[in-house]
Subunit: 195 residues, 2 copies
């Protein structure tokens, strides 16, 4: 393909890797404003070197976030093949919350950046989640009076939010998923519906 990797000097390759690791480290830390300067310091390199290795700061961040996101995507694909769809969904939601709890600071940093790779990964996650919900729905584990697309948006956004919450104790995540799961289960009693 067009991925024609022109040969690069060993030190350039090494420094590129260092820059990526440094960016990942900073992305996970809270409270830090991520500047090229800061990444350079963390990597023990000059700022110019870092920018040159990726073209722009945005491209560097994009690559770093993509890296961080990959394990999560793997888990998502895994969840899609597990036998019990409801359990898989539940487990994945908890994974998602864990991930966001560790990384929500990152999301804040990303707002004004041009990060196409990351956008792509996010969309992949969204697709996988949609798949999980479809499976759970077909298995009868999720009420059918709500559009699966709506459920997907709901869960995706909500997980982000819950992880974001200042405290984020594990108990919160667990309780939260419980409430969601109970609310999403087919409701036997349409209850005091009218209200």
């Amino acid at each position: 393909m067009s991925t024609a990797e022109q040969p690069r000097r060993a030190d350039a390759v090494r420094n590129r890797r260092l820059a990526l690791e440094a960016a990942k480290t900073l992305l996970v830390q809270s409270g830090v404003t991520i500047t090229v300067e800061a990444i350079a310091r963390q990597a023990g390199l000059g700022a110019a070197t870092i920018v040159r290795a990726f073209g722009t700061k945005d491209a560097l961040i994009d690559a770093a976030v993509t890296d961080l996101l990959d394990p999560l995507i793997q888990r998502a694909h895994q969840a899609l093949t597990e036998p019990d769809p409801a359990a898989a969904l539940r487990r994945f939601l908890l994974d998602l919350i864990d991930f966001q709890a560790a990384h929500w600071v990152m999301s804040e940093q990303l707002t004004h950046l041009q990060i196409p790779l990351t956008a792509e990964r996010r969309s992949a996650l969204h697709q996988a989640l949609l798949g999980m919900i479809d499976r759970a729905r077909e298995a009868g584990a999720i009420r059918t009076d709500i559009d699966p697309a709506v459920v997907t948006v709901m869960l995706g956004e909500v997980v982000y939010a819950i992880a974001r919450s200042s405290a984020t104790p594990p108990a919160l995540a667990h309780d939260f998923v419980t409430v969601l799961a109970d609310g999403l289960r087919p409701q036997s009693s349409t209850g005091p519906a009218g209200r």
Copy 2:
């Protein structure tokens, strides 16, 4: 009190008001980076005038956001006195989502600002929400196996998230509150619990 308003010239008062309105207008618009320059243009004033009227840009934004938040706080207090706690909570959640849907862009802008007044209002909202949940709980409308504080965090964050979702069709908000309400209701069947 110490609110000793030293007399100010009529034009100064008018311009202060203009600046506040301009800031509110921009805060609600999406995609706009809010600079003092932009607010000044919107208000038809010079940038210097605006900064001087409030001391700092942050103070201006703080005042504007506070203004925008006030009606919502009023609704919250209102909800606390309605006869049916469950219905009041539900209605307020929908209000909250509506508000956030209209204003979430704003929240993004606020991340790096010094906005004590706004922080205070937010905390007031949180308190009110906690109150509503307590009332609904006492009325037996909310399951008791989950800490009310957790429920509060849950709802507060979640509402923010759901409003944030790109689409935000009203249907989404409605369905979402339904799912939450069903999930938060006392669960008769501990169900096929183990799972």
